[in-house]
Every structure is written in structure tokens, then in C-alpha cells.
Symmetry: C2
Amino acid sequence: MKPKEAGKEEIILKAARKAFTQKGLSGARMQDIADAAGINKSLVHYYFESKEKLFALIFEQEFGKFFSNLAAVISSDIPLFEKIEQIVLLDMERLSQFPDMPLFVINEVSRHPEMTMKRLKQLPVSDALVSFQKQISGEIKRGTINKISAEQLLINIQSLSIFPFVAKPMLKNVLRMSEKQYKAMILVRKKEVAGFIINAIRINVKM
Amino acid sequence: MKPKEAGKEEIILKAARKAFTQKGLSGARMQDIADAAGINKSLVHYYFESKEKLFALIFEQEFGKFFSNLAAVISSDIPLFEKIEQIVLLDMERLSQFPDMPLFVINEVSRHPEMTMKRLKQLPVSDALVSFQKQISGEIKRGTINKISAEQLLINIQSLSIFPFVAKPMLKNVLRMSEKQYKAMILVRKKEVAGFIINAIRINVKM
DNA sequence: ACCAAAATTAACCAAATGGTTAAAAAAAAA
DNA sequence: TTTTTTTTTAACCATTTGGTTAATTTTGGT
């Protein structure tokens, strides 16, 4: 019943994930991964062949997290403002759970754009954007929100959600925050970001 | 009058900057830098001693760009909405000029938070935030904007400005954008982001 | 108990890599 | 021109690193 014995593969993957997300592909060392997993380096190769293969595996997992459920929420059939709240909530939950995932994924995509194209192909985000655009155009016509494209709005939402996690050490240093203060700041964001976005696009009812 | 003969040091630095920003400290190769500069590898050491020293030099330069003028604008004595426009404009100009600077700096700060602490110490951003907070508190009391902390507002501004550059290849892939479309998207942002932020905090005058 | 298959390890290996050295070439000083 | 200093290079070197091999241990079936 110990948290141990999770299967060697799992243990190695866990160690590899930590190493790769922290130091990147070129910065991570197979020996370090083996040490962190408490096993011989050869065993890592025994299970995962090569560093590249292992990295690709980790990347695929992390990449999946990045967009999980996003397309579904974006194209779901709920009111716009509610939807914005949902997206932000989803993002924040995901990011709180995997704080160093986005920087890792962004780095890899930046360094090997071709390799990631494939995975992207089957991602329905771009399609979901179409229905999202329809909804937004409807609201604009109805005069409830200001003119904005679905693309720009989505980028704004993701920027406000993701950036504070990507730039965590930066923000902590520049704004002189302790870990506690940083977490508090994130908590405030969870509550305020959606409202911030909604305010930004909402047209106030004249009284 | 050719653009050549800019001094070997400059040439090396340029090649090093490209290598380090693209591949990171561990991913960049001294041999590649020498090749890109069209010189012998030993000459790189002759001028810059070690890889670490060279990297530190590049990092310092890039890091400087990240915050140049920011503190000054933040604590300047101009109306809030105007100031927001100024900050966004400053960010956008800077980022258009050095598109891969923020990801590079963020990565390095993430991987070596201690090392960067020093440079941060003398950065007056944190101080500038105090006067910025005063200005915001004033506006809130006057009932012109919604309640928000200077910290959160600044993070929002920087998120909306920086993230689209940090996540460029990501966005291009996910949203199926060509380089041309991406640039167009950035252009739109230059015009709209400040307004987006101002709308988000502004309290409409009742009629 | 015995044996075959799977798991695990220690010892190596070859290539890559940051760095050094000593000599040559170029530039500057005399 | 000669000498001295600076710049540049080719040849090495030591270490690191991803990966392999062969042997050992463990496991599971008979």
C-alpha cells in the first residue's frame, strides 16, 4: 500500500518528466533521470530505448494537457460570458495542477515546430473556433459586446491565464513576491480574470 | 562601407545571441557559434573565455531589453488610460524588434532564478509599482475604474503584450496561421489591446 | 527444485564537446 | 627592415554523455 511500487516505467517517466520540464531536452541527463528514479541508467534504455524516444513520450503527454477539453468548451452551447468563465476556470485548474507544463510545451514547439505540426493536425481547436466566431458575431450584432474577433478574444483569454504561470520566476523576482504571495496572486486571478475579460468586451446597458 | 567588418567581437556576439536564444545554454554549441561567425572556435575563447561567460553576457543584454523604460513609464505623471496605452505601445515596439527575447529571458530566469536575483535588485520596477498603485487607488476612489490592484493590472498588461510573442509558434500552429497572418494578428493587437484593457477597468458614465 | 524469461546492473565504448596549447599569420611598433 | 605584439588557427586533450554488451539477479512457470 505504499505509494511506491508504481511500476518502474511510471517511476522513470516521472523522473524524466521532471528532468525534461526543468532542463529541457538538451539540458536533461539520462544519468540524472536514472538516479532520480533510483535505478541503473541501462534500465532507462531497456524500457524507453533512447533519450529522444523518452522525450517524445513525455512531450506528447504534456502537449495533450495543454489543450485538453479546450475545444469542447469553446464550441459548447452555453452563453458567451458563462463560456468565458468556463474557459478561464478550466485553464486555471489545469495550470495549477501542471504549472511548468506550458513553458515546457512552448519551448519544444518553438524549437521543433515541424515535429509538433502532426499532433496539431488532429486538434479540433481551429474548428471549434468557427462556432465560437459565430457566437461572438451574434453577440456583436445583438449589441451586447464590442467588436472583436474570436481569434483575438481567445488569445487574450489564454494570455491572461497562461502567462502568469509561464513567467512565474520572472514575476516573483520582479514583483518581489514570496511563494505564498505568488499563490495568493494566482488565487485572485482565478476570481478576477474572467470578469476582467467580460468587462473588456461587454457594452453597458444605458440607464 | 559594407555591413561587414563590424569587429570580430560584435560578429561573435551576434552569432552567440542567435544560438543561445534559439537553442538555450545547453543546446547551443561553441563550434556552431564559431562557424556562424566564420572564425575558429579558439577565437571565441580568446575573446570571451568560456561558454558560460559568453552566455552571461548575452543574457545580460537581453535581460536589459526586457524592462528598458518600463519603470519610467509606469511611474510617469500622465493620466492612467494614456499610460496604459503607452505601456502597451512600448511593449509592442520592443517585442516586435526582439521577438525571441522574452522566451529566452524567461527560460533563463526559470532555470537559474538565483543568478538573476542580482540584476533584479537594481531594477526599479517594484518601486515604480508603488506610485502606480497610488494613481490607481485614486482613480478607484474617484469612481472612474473598477477595483483592481496595480500588480494585477500590470500582470494583465504584460500578459496580453508578451504572451503572443512567447507562444508564437504555438499560436501559429494551433490557429493555422501563416507568417503573414501572424504579423497581421500582431498588428491588430497593437491597436486593440490597450483599448481592451481600458474597457476592462473603466466604469461607464451613466447617462 | 529447475529452468527459461524478464529485469537489472557494472563495465565499456564511441562520439561530441568545452577548453587548452603551441605555432603561424597579421598588424603594429621600433 | 626588424622586432614585438596581437590575432588567428590547427591539433590536441579531458570530460561528459548517450548508448551498448555481457553478465548477474530476480521472477514465474513447470
